[in-house]
Assembly symmetry: C2
Homo-oligomer: 332 residues x 2
DNA sequence: TTGAAAGCGCTAACAG
DNA sequence: CTGTTAGCGCTTTCAA
């Protein structure tokens, strides 16, 4: 019970017309007699004919109606929502999403990008884990549009969609300062990531502005998984001169910190970057934003480039806003 | 600054060798003189040559090194983890994931499946929102292997990977009964989904076995988003003869229920299907399982089929286990 | 309204 | 070790 998938030629032979005629019918072109069209369609349905997109796109000599999305991990809710936003924006124009995770590894990302380009994706959306973007710059030059998401490229003039990292962290720190906190800690992601650096820099700026020069004592970086984040949180709180408040720089780290304090009656105030599903239930103050928008804005930008727009690179900065909940409500 | 992407022919001309030789070099075949290979590679690198996978796959006459994944919503953590599991399993064999969301809409799913088949994916992993699987059955017959995830097909003999839905719900209900609960409610997803029906059936069976014949009074179905789930939860608790415990049948519904009770001091005991990131922090008892495994087991099954295995359909049932936390610890 | 021929980029098969 | 030929499934171009 395993027949072969019929080709357009097979349909043509079975209907006694030329391949071109079948092609016309299948593509809904005009100038086909109604009865011819009907016959062809019935044969096509009977045989289970499916036009071969591979052949079509190949013949067109160009790219495939596909966009590559490279993120750190599809299962991270932040990236998953970017994927959803992108998918929705690409739906109408008829493009599909080829998604791949780089596991925050630069070498793997290069392999993925090469694969995707060889597959002739129409464009690339990438949350890059690499700080050398010469490969991506090259591909861009050779005709594959690239839009950088979340992390702007340091060395390439290309489109980007990022968050207002500095603004978010500044507001968070000011909020905590207003509540009387002075010893404020920060738990951050891999220090090689530009977003991390921006967030830490903004943190330092806000702390210095508040007259707290030794802010670096309470900074813990490179917490990329939940356990590391928990450890960093405990480390901060158990250390001498422990902070009374902590800023976590992404949803994973926030989760890790929450776990660290689950069995402790005394908890520092907490503000986390990224909103998350149960933040309201848990009463966690967050720097909220819309990851779907990052995906959809990036996808629309890419669509413009695919359509031939070769204007100068555009940089989108998505807004963030502080959502105050119980975790930062107690004053010092 | 927008050159053209060179073809293998261009590389051949620039290096003064035949296309076949370039092909050999690019594919790492033997029987190429070292210096020839070196020259070709340097020209290829200089020109930014990328073998055209579209052409290669097309030429091979077959399918693309791609697997289609159809779920309800890439951003739902359950589906996102399935995607991750699948992606990891497909990584080594060199297949990419083309993922698409059906928004739990049958018509949309059919469009997606058609698109993916036309793109000649090597196989399909689908969490189907459709209860008529004749289309998928047809494609399977025509040579595109299909593995059903989470929801087994009613009408097609095909591979599937599902959870032990009945076992999970039974254990949850028994756990609540042991704690003395008798009026136990259930909040469920769309009633047309087979998983929902299995879970409700198992619920009814366990309740009847406990001598509670009027269990249906506390069943609320068709809560597909967070707000509906919250509403159902409040409805149950505010109703006459309110249940003292509630079973929620998936992670979204659990979240909705938690939101419904966030500002209420009196909360029913709760057991949720699907574990989730902050369940430990929130102390929510859950029926846990491993969604990544669903993706990877499904992908491996698909790989076997792609490799030509045409044995009888295999049905994998993944285990679930009750993780008891505070939300069900109070006895009645 | 329909058809014939050519070719997209690449590689298998078969020489040399 | 290297080259030539042919063709994958489809659509564009040009004729009929």
């Amino acid at each position: 019970m395993h027949s072969e998938r019929p080709t357009l030629r097979a349909v043509a032979e079975r209907s006694g017309v030329s391949m071109k005629t079948v092609s016309r019918v299948v593509n809904g072109e005009r100038y086909v007699a109604a009865d011819t069209a009907a016959r062809v369609l019935s044969v096509a349905a009977e045989l289970g004919f499916r036009p071969n997109t591979l052949a079509r796109e190949f013949r067109a000599g160009g790219s495939s109606a596909t966009v590559g999305l490279v993120t750190g991990d599809v299962a991270n809710p932040f990236y998953a929502r970017i994927a959803r936003g992108a998918e929705h924006a690409l739906r109408d124009p008829g493009l599909s999403l080829l998604s791949a995770s780089n596991d925050e590894d630069a070498a793997r990302e290069r392999t993925l990008v090469a694969h995707l380009v060889e597959r002739r994706v129409s464009g690339l959306l990438v949350v890059s884990a690499d700080d050398d973007h010469t490969l991506l710059a090259r591909e861009r030059t050779l005709g594959t549009p690239v839009v950088f998401l979340d992390r702007a490229p340091a060395d390439v003039a290309a489109d980007s969609v990022v968050l207002d990292n500095a603004g978010g962290v500044r507001v968070a720190v000011e909020h905590l300062l207003e509540r009387g906190h002075r010893r404020i800690g920060l738990i951050g992601d891999l220090s090689r990531l530009s977003t991390h650096r921006e967030r830490v820099d903004a943190f330092g700026t806000a702390m210095r502005a508040a007259g707290i020069p030794d802010w670096e004592r309470w900074v813990r970086s490179d917490s990329h998984d939940l356990d590391e984040a928990s450890r960093a949180a405990r480390d901060l709180v158990d250390g001498p001169d422990a902070p009374t408040a902590i800023v976590t720089t992404n949803n994973r780290i926030t989760t890790g910190a929450l776990r660290a304090f689950v069995d402790r009656p005394e908890r520092p105030a907490l503000v986390g970057f990224d909103d998350f599903d149960l933040a309201d239930v848990l009463g966690v103050t967050v720097i909220a934003h819309d990851p779907d928008a990052m995906g959809s804005v990036g996808a629309r930008e890419l669509l413009a480039r695919i359509a031939g727009d070769d204007g100068p690179p555009r940089h989108h900065v998505l807004p963030v806003r502080l959502v105050v909940r119980a975790s930062s409500s107690t004053s010092r």
